[in-house]
């Protein structure tokens, strides 16, 4: 029955193959005629899709995927004595935290030693002096030293205050951990100095990949790190709600199960109000679209961190080493009732660590690619990828139709069309070479013949990069004019326009490639790039009218990295040197790829498009 039906269909299709070829031709002609409206339509469909994601019906509720975790199902022992201990530590810390790095680290070291841990200090160099990390390894009685968990706290909180409560609860929990025998993984207690540089150098040293100072050869170690909870509880007061920071370097995210565990423990055991990041506002909470707006804001915040490739907290640095990590942050809002303090934080952390202790293997069950909209709602990769595919495919509408049109022409101008491909390829190669040069110039720490302080040097480097970009564009344009005019005196115009279309196809195809491939590494960066360039690049035409040229050139200049930098400076009122040093610090300390991406992928296409406008 079904077989005969399929056979009949196939036969019908086979007999109508002649007709199909015609229809294909028709479709191509249709697409070609409506390239521009189609591109705009597809672009807005993609944008609308992204904005639909925070809507309740288009995302899902999170769930614990790894059954071994059993979050919130243990009796917790964090009691009155531990609260007292934490309060005592808090009192002591208020005295010590203002001291020098070395002194305060020694205080922590002595505390660890008095509790009986294998502990040490780690010294490291940063741009503003020597920092000292203090850490201890609790060799759990039932562990074989192959796996470990980390409880860490920086000296300074993200709010700029001292992380007094965070370190106090860390020390108190250390005492509690030591008291119990059920641990099957070692626990590393870490107090880091100098913000991200401290965490980064500790992780590097632990894995033996940092700058070669030989203290890391003998530092106490445990096994592979399975999970990290970073504490950020500023000041000495109580908190209104708990925020989770999870974004890592280059938009990497921890396994969703780690976040799920903390969320479950928070809601079941500790009963603490929970939010993402440090956002406690509830806009339009009396309106039906209130939840939507809040989800959207959370999503935008996440995408902002991801697109910049900047970790949202110290925990984000562990992700590069395949270690899942989150920061829990105490938020002190305006709301003064129902505050929570050491008791609930202690219960939360103890219960979380008991769950992590249950892990049988590395976190792998749940999602690595997701967008978190609220602590318990997520969008998975299957739902957020379509717009990016749409953006990237939109770039292929034009090249593929262009190619068809070229084929029609090719019977007459076969050689000239292949020459065009070659020259467009040369333009792309030239702009990419200058992109590599820009990258090389930006990342060197000293320029020959120039001595100055860091920020001045950065500005000079940036100015030099802009000059290189400008020279590349102008040089390419002129070299092409020189080549084409004498060769074809009668048909100059025709040759150059064809060249422009080929070059544009190349630019668009390359941008499509970049957007669709980068989306796998860093979805948000791909979205931001797509939103910036998809429409302008699709609509650009090489034109002979002066005004059109100038208008397009202005748009391209705004979209080029210097233009974007100027725009950012205009909006945020930050000095250029500050912006650049942020970028450079991310590249050098944290290992973010944003600089590489901008100079090797984003800028060259922009240069090629500028060439296109003037060809």
């Amino acid at each position: 029955m079904l077989g005969s039906w399929i056979r009949a269909k196939l036969a019908a299709r086979r007999s109508s193959s002649q007709y199909n070829a015609e229809r294909k031709e028709k479709i191509i002609r249709f697409v070609k005629r409506f390239t521009v409206p189609l591109s705009i339509l597809l672009f807005f469909v993609g944008i609308a899709w992204i904005f639909l994601l925070p809507y309740q019906d288009f995302n899902k509720k999170t769930y614990i995927s790894e059954n071994a975790l059993l979050p919130g199902q243990v009796n917790v022992y964090f009691g009155y004595n531990d609260i007292r201990t934490a309060e005592e530590y808090r009192y002591q810390l208020t005295e010590h935290e203002r001291q020098e790095s070395e002194t305060r680290a020694t205080f922590i070291l002595n505390e660890f030693r008095s509790l009986g841990f294998d502990s040490a200090l780690q010294h490291f160099n940063t741009s503003d002096g020597i920092g000292v990390n203090a850490f201890a390894v609790y060799r759990a009685p039932r562990s074989d030293g192959k796996e470990s968990l980390i409880l860490s706290a920086p000296w300074e909180s993200r709010t700029g205050e001292y992380n007094t409560n965070g370190i106090a609860i860390l020390l108190s929990l250390a005492k509690l951990f030591k008291r119990n025998v059920y641990w099957s993984k070692d626990i590393i207690l870490l107090v880091t100095d100098k913000g991200m540089a401290g965490t980064q150098s500790w992780v590097d040293a632990y894995h033996g990949t940092g700058q070669p100072n030989y203290s890391f050869l003998v530092m106490p170690r445990s096994g592979a790190i399975q999970g990290v909870v970073n504490l950020d509880f500023p000041g000495t007061q109580d908190y209104e709600s708990l925020g989770i920071f999870f974004e890592g370097v280059n938009g990497q995210l921890p396994n969703l199960d780690l976040i799920n565990t903390i969320v479950t423990v928070c809601t079941r055991t500790a009963r603490v109000p929970l939010t993402l990041h440090d956002d406690t506002s509830h806009p339009y909470s009396d309106q039906p679209w209130g939840p939507y707006v809040q989800s959207l804001l959370h999503m935008i915040r996440t995408m902002q961190y991801q697109a910049l490739g900047h970790p949202s907290s110290d925990a984000g640095l562990y992700l590069r080493y395949k270690i899942d990590a989150v920061t829990v942050h105490g938020i002190r809002g305006n709301n003064l009732h129902a505050l929570f303090g050491f008791h609930k934080i202690g219960i939360l952390l103890e219960s979380t660590f008991r769950s992590l202790n249950n892990l049988l293997e590395h976190f792998h069950q749940s999602f690595f690619f997701y967008l978190l909209l609220r602590p318990n709602r997520y969008v998975s990769i299957g739902d957020y990828m379509p717009p990016i595919i749409l953006f990237a495919s939109l770039y292929y509408v034009e090249p593929s139709t262009d190619k068809k049109s070229e084929k029609e022409v090719s019977s007459i101008h076969a050689t000239s069309s292949s020459r065009n491909v070659a020259s467009a390829l040369t333009v792309m190669i030239m702009t990419h070479l200058s992109g590599f040069m820009i990258f090389y110039i930006m990342q060197t720490r000293s320029l020959v013949g120039y001595t100055g302080n860091d920020s001045e040097l950065l500005v000079v480097q940036f100015a030099l990069s802009c000059c290189i970009a400008l020279i590349t564009v102008i040089g390419t344009i002129f070299s092409h004019y020189r080549q084409h005019q004498p060769a074809t005196d009668g048909t100059t115009k025709m040759v150059t326009t064809l060249n422009g279309r080929t070059l544009k196809s190349f630019c668009l195809a390359f941008s499509g490639l970049v957007i669709s491939t980068i989306s796998l590494l860093n979805f948000s960066l791909a979205v931001v790039t797509a939103v910036l360039i998809v429409l302008p690049y699709t609509l650009m035409r090489s034109s002979t009218s002066l005004w059109a040229r100038i208008f397009q050139w202005i748009i391209l200049t705004i979209l080029s990295p210097p233009g974007l930098a100027a725009l950012t400076i205009f909006i945020t009122q930050l000095p250029l040197a500050h912006l650049l040093s942020f970028l450079m610090e991310d590249y050098q300390v944290v290992g973010s790829w944003l600089l590489l991406y901008i100079s090797v992928a984003y800028w060259p296409v922009n240069m090629a498009m500028q060439v296109l406008v003037f060809i």
Partner: protein, 422 residues
């Protein structure tokens, strides 16, 4: 473009540009070492890193094939044992660059000496479109120097050279064998292909089309020459390393896939996943599958042995047990020899994009699998499948083109028309 065109015509400029490009990349040891370790370029049986380890063992009088690490031919061992004793960083890079140049020049000579393809005859009722077709055919032929340049500046070739993968030696031998065969030097051709077989086993399948290139009276002699050369090479190897262990360590590994390091092929993932009791059966199926294509291709296209060799190189680059990008580089290098087929190609844009995407995505998925930890082996395997799909599409397109062209030669009236087989 005029300048580049003129530069290409001049061999000295073309070849020195290629050498300079390679040496410039080699001057950044970090870049060269990155490619050295990429699984896309160096497989267990071609890796330069393993070669140096083997050479070290060989020089220290430790049997190099005992450790289960070294899987390359003993002749390479002795050659590199000599070369690495020269205390200059640029010896090896220069050698590899020169081999690429020789390969390119051989391709140039092959293109030069290739008999012109049978022209398409114009049908009796000649109208505009057909005149155009003939004209186009004249326009689209590639000059021999373009063939050489396309090989030399193909990113796959350049990067494979940078990775110092020893696949370059078998590529050279295959190309040399083709040239010798084309110029009528049957025994030299067989010696070259025997050397390629000795290095990588799979080129043995090229013996059939190479024999087909010659008049049938010479067949027996050629096959005998081939067998004697292979036995001679094995004998020399036995003499060099002092035992027959190398057979198991080289051809045994190629045939039975005991090293499951990921590569661009289909074998590794499949044989990681498969249950042990089915392993031998599927091993036979997979290896047989790689060789089976010789028969249909050589029967159907017996009058175009050069094309058959190209197609078989493509098939090798997809279906051999340890393929690398270097194999595809040879395939893509041989492709421009058949420029008369280019106008029949239908998937050019698609194949280009597949190659582009897979070469960008392969390192990304590798990163996601091994460094970020957010992906897994399926990611990388999926992209190698896509890459091989690209090669297979290109093969299909090639074979379609050659068949369609043959049809057009026989039926000039059908040129430019839609033909359906029923």
């Amino acid at each position: 473009m005029g300048i580049i065109d003129r530069a290409c015509r001049n061999h000295a400029i073309l070849y020195s540009a290629a050498i300079i490009l390679r040496l410039v990349i080699f001057t950044f040891p970090s870049v060269a070492d990155t490619f050295l370790q990429r699984v896309e370029f160096s497989t267990p049986v071609t890796s330069y890193k393993r070669l140096t380890e083997g050479v070290y063992l060989y020089d220290s009088n430790v049997p190099p094939y005992d450790g289960g690490l070294f899987h390359q031919a003993p002749l390479l061992l002795s050659i590199f044992s000599f070369l690495t004793s020269i205390p200059n960083y640029y010896t090896i890079p220069l050698l590899y660059s020169l081999i690429d140049i020789v390969t390119a020049h051989t391709l140039y000579r092959i293109k030069q000496t290739k008999p012109p393809p049978t022209p398409l005859s114009t049908p009796s009722s000649d109208n505009d479109s057909n005149v155009n077709n003939v004209k186009e055919e004249n326009n689209l032929t590639l000059e021999p120097h373009v063939v050489a340049a396309l090989y030399l500046f193909n990113p796959f070739t350049v990067l494979s050279c940078i990775s110092r993968s020893s696949i370059i030696f078998s590529n050279l031998s295959i190309v040399m064998a083709i040239l010798c065969s084309q110029r009528g030097r049957q025994s030299m051709s067989m010696v070259w292909i025997a050397f390629a077989t000795y290095l990588g086993l799979y080129p043995a399948m090229l013996v059939v089309p190479l024999v087909l290139m010659q008049p049938s009276s010479k067949s027996m002699g050629m096959v005998t020459t081939f067998i004697i050369s292979v036995i001679g090479l094995l004998g020399i190897s036995r003499w060099l390393v002092g035992s027959w262990d190398f057979i198991k360590a080289t051809y045994g590994v190629i045939l039975f896939l005991s090293d499951l390091t990921p590569n661009t092929g289909m074998f590794w993932y499949f044989f990681i996943e498969i249950f042990d009791q089915f392993r031998s059966f599927f091993m036979v199926v997979f290896q047989f599958h790689a060789f089976i294509f010789v028969a249909p291709l050589c029967i159907k296209l017996r009058h175009q042995p050069l094309f058959t060799i190209t197609a078989l190189c493509g098939i090798m680059s997809v279906f051999k047990s340890y393929p690398a990008v270097g194999d595809t580089a040879l395939f893509l290098g041989l492709l421009p020899l058949h420029d008369e087929l280019f106008k029949y190609f239908r998937y050019g844009f698609l194949v280009t994009n597949i190659y582009l995407y897979s070469s960008v995505l392969a390192p990304i998925f590798w990163h996601l699998w091994l460094y970020a930890g957010s992906g897994n082996a399926n990611f990388f395997y999926a992209i190698t499948l896509v890459y091989n799909l690209g090669s297979v599409l290109l093969l299909i397109d090639m074979i379609f083109s050659v068949l369609r062209r043959d049809y057009d030669i026989e039926n000039p009236n059908a040129i430019g028309k839609h033909v359906v087989q029923k």
